[in-house]
Amino acid sequence: MAEGVLAGAPDWLLPLAYLVASVLFIQGLRDMTHPRTATRGNATSAAGMFLAVAVTVLWFEILSPVVLAAALLLGAAIGTWLAVTVETTEMPQLVGLFNGFGGGASALVAGAELTEIFDRDAAATPDVAVAAAIAGIIGSVTFWGSLVAAGKLHGVFRRTIRYRGEHLVKVVLLAVALTAGAFLVLQPGVFGETPLAAWAPSYWVLVAAASVLGVALVVPIGGADMPVVIALLNSYSGLAAATTGFVLDNTVLIIAGTLVGAAGMILTVIMCESMNRSLPNVLFGGWGEEATDDEMDDIYEGEIQSTSPEEVEMLLDTAQRVVIVPGYGMAVAQAQHAVAELAELLEENGVDVEFGIHPVAGRMPGHMNVLLAEADVPYDKMRELEEVNPTFSETDVVIVTGANDVVNPKAKEAEGTPISGMPILNVDEARTVIVNKRSLSPGFSGIPNPLFTLDKTSMLFGDAKQSMQDLVNEYKENH
């Protein structure tokens, strides 16, 4: 029955509003399939959210509208502030952080619902208890895992912590959480006479164990594998929402949560396939730690040619077709504007310029695309791996900036390297390759890159932003 403002409204109104909201979410996602309609899609989805929240607020008897309004305003203010102040390069950690908040909210909602039930001295029905336990575990893992992932991406802590028996620790934590969940379902009255019984104590034991588990799961994973972690946690936060829907018997929560769960899962699978690694290998295999030492200098000794912006400019002068391959280094150096300016200058002088973007370049799915879009690179210039690979043999100059493993020809070797079998951008098929890097340090795979020693390859050492800016200035002087 409707209470509050909508008292007297027919019972079917609420589910109908939820149906409309679900349709808006789905239509919004459908519009996301093309850049031209995507902004509209995002707005459609937001409208669905507004409708669902507004109807819910009006429908249920709100005992403390002041508290509710305060919470909504506070959350909106924090969210807006974070969104407006973020740099595009910091986007991965912000998305991770938001994600965590969604998961955390799910865990708290399930807990609040349980305490209400326990307070009435009633036992939660088994299906509610099961769903609450799942929401609690997924939500807590998502919250703490996302915080750790965001912290790593933001550079708050970089270390990848590994220790003996870490898998055992994870298994024990999961076992504790599941046991607490089992108590919640099978023995809800086990704390019946204790003073804290009304607080659903077994649920909070579950939350505590799952929280530590969330930290333990992400701490051993290296920075370069964070795209997979963020995508997976995104999926979890959706599943947590769907599970909350099972607890509260709420259709829109189930539909929307499942859509998000599917989105995150698909992105996770794409990321893993692009690295030719299985999901368990990413999560538990324990590499992806960035090597930054200079020991590689010895391996390359005497086989490296370095070049200067002047020489590269001369090369570009005679080029018909240029492909730029950006990597995480471009994001770190904030070089996207300089890179975009270079591409624009080349285009003005009749050179065919495209960007070759590897699916795992950067720190989240589509990271490079967003950075380049910010710098006004048209999206039809950004080519995916399958599109750009056949064109390298007709390309005069490839400029690799801040990328390494994704252009390492060792990946084509059948076995024996950590990146064997990973699809790469075949830049070694181009006529000339310019690699812009600060040093010869290896990528996160920790192996040397034979591309650097090829006769056709020249190294343009230096910070990506500085090097690209020098190149732009050089080009301007001569045209």
């Binding site: 850049p35 506070l74 912000l94 769960g261």
Partner: protein
């Protein structure tokens, strides 16, 4: 059987989500993520129901924190998504 009805919804939504999301181009994967993220803030509804009923102080406190967190997720997620998509949208590029 509410459980079976809910399960039906879940399974159908999963298939629908799969078929739509596999069509979204790589270019838009970051905005997709933050947008999907914002949708997962739908737990806000759950939070509102629980915080609103406010039968116990504990439930109200938990609900309050949950509403704040979920709202940050929703508002922040849609906003960053919008900002990123605007950068794609302001171009007059052709079809991919």
């Amino acid at each position: 059987m509410a459980l079976i009805e809910n399960l039906t919804l879940f399974v159908l939504a999963a298939f629908l989500g799969y078929s739509i999301i596999t069509k979204i181009p790589t270019n838009l994967h970051t905005p997709l993520m933050s947008g999907a993220n914002a949708i997962s803030g739908i737990t806000l509804i759950g939070s509102v129901v629980v915080a609103g009923s406010g039968a116990t102080t504990l439930a109200t406190v938990l609900g309050f924190v949950a509403v704040v967190m979920a709202t940050v997720n929703v508002v922040g997620g849609y906003l960053v998504s919008h900002m990123m998509l605007d950068q794609f949208g302001r171009q007059d590029g052709g079809d991919r």
